[in-house]
């Protein structure tokens, strides 16, 4: 049966008042989903009556309420990463560089289960925010760089190096803004399980002219299994 405008407005008003019976309310709720004109009538009634609801005496919720909400929306990526880093430290004995307080962009959601052959290095200044995340996938040979808070000095470039214990640093190229992929050199694929350090040095614009780091190393981090 078609509703007259008066009926529709009366129903919208009673819906907002809350006096429709359960069945009538449910039916109106379904109609609302389909009908933007009804939604506008309801919004008008919400607006008209809302000042009454604001006069209510506030009641403080117990702490359990927020805990349940926080749990339901899932762990905070920052907290989760902190935990993951803690696991890495325990598992690998990596030094305090990784204990740094980590605040990290939300794209880094380490939700996937650790896969064999995947490694990660959090490259930072000791105690600083992470500057760069390096992920190495030995299976595909891909190295992914995610700058987080890299600050190249004006007119200079930042260059990424990987260093095997006791070997000369090898360049992985200049780090740009935004995520980038570089191909892993064969040695890196084979060496990923041994001790690898990543370091970022300040170089002349465009990168080191010598093939080795020439400027100060400002960030570093160890490669560890993900």
């Amino acid at each position: 049966m078609p509703m007259t405008p008066e009926d529709a407005d009366a129903l919208a008003g009673e819906y907002v008042l809350g006096t429709l019976g359960a069945d009538e309310r449910a039916a109106f709720g379904r109609a609302l989903e389909r009908d933007p004109a009804l939604r506008a009538l309801v919004a008008d009634w919400e607006r008209r009556l809302s000042p009454l609801a604001q006069g209510v005496e506030p009641v403080s919720p117990t702490a359990d309420v927020w805990r349940a909400i926080a749990q339901a929306i899932g762990p905070d990526p920052v907290v989760q990463l902190r935990r993951q880093v803690l696991r890495w430290r325990v598992a690998t004995g990596v030094a305090a560089a990784l204990a740094a307080s980590l605040a990290i962009a939300p794209w880094l959601r380490p939700a996937a289960p650790p896969a064999a052959g995947r490694y990660v290095a959090v490259v930072n200044r000791s105690g600083d925010l992470p500057a760069l995340i390096v992920r190495v996938d030995v299976a595909t040979g891909a190295v992914t760089l995610r700058p987080v808070a890299m600050e190249p000095p004006a007119g200079r470039s930042l260059e990424l190096w990987y260093i095997r214990d006791g070997a000369a640093p090898r360049s992985l190229g200049v780090v740009h803004d935004g995520a980038q992929q570089v191909a892993a050199p064969a040695e890196l694929r084979n060496d990923a399980r041994t001790s690898i350090t990543f370091a970022v040095s300040v170089e002349p614009s465009g990168g080191s002219p010598t093939g080795g780091p020439t400027g100060p190393v400002i960030y570093s981090g160890k490669l560890i299994p993900e």
Binding site: A10, G18, A22, A43, E46, L49, V56, P61, V65
Partner: protein, 186 residues
Amino acid sequence: MAATDLSVLLQSVGAGDRRAFRDLYDATSPKLLGIAVRILRDKALAEEILQDVYLRVWRNANRYSPEAGAPMTWLGAIARNRAIDVVRSRKAEPIASAPAGDEDGGWLESLADPAGESVDRVDAQALRQCLGQVEGELRQCLVLAYCEGYSREELADRFGRNVNTIKTWLRRGLAALRVCLDPPCP
């Protein structure tokens, strides 16, 4: 907290900002719980509803637009709707007691001095004035329904009338309120 701050917070929440969500929760949850408690008359149940309310806020905050209304109106509507859904779908229980204070339960007075800046004072005063013009028992029905979750049956009990009379009262009261608040264009 001022409406503009809440609006900014809500927009951050819509973008998935958890810190903003926590701030929004801290700023608004006592009021929303207050709304739910008055309707449900059960704090533990109201707290359960409150969890659901904020999960809806988290998921739907990106649909909030400041043009559509004040943040507290939007948030309050979610809380009231959930509480009313629950109270309407459970078996009718006897009303514990009539609200203390005057016949409107003090709600009309609360409009005279809205707490904080979250509600537009002009809207509150207009509603107070217009409610004041609605006949006594009709006005009480509107206020008890909206603020305390009274059903038509509960109102019928309270006023010693049948349910159809109450329905007529509610609709007459709403129509009078609408004409007063939003006069039709000539």
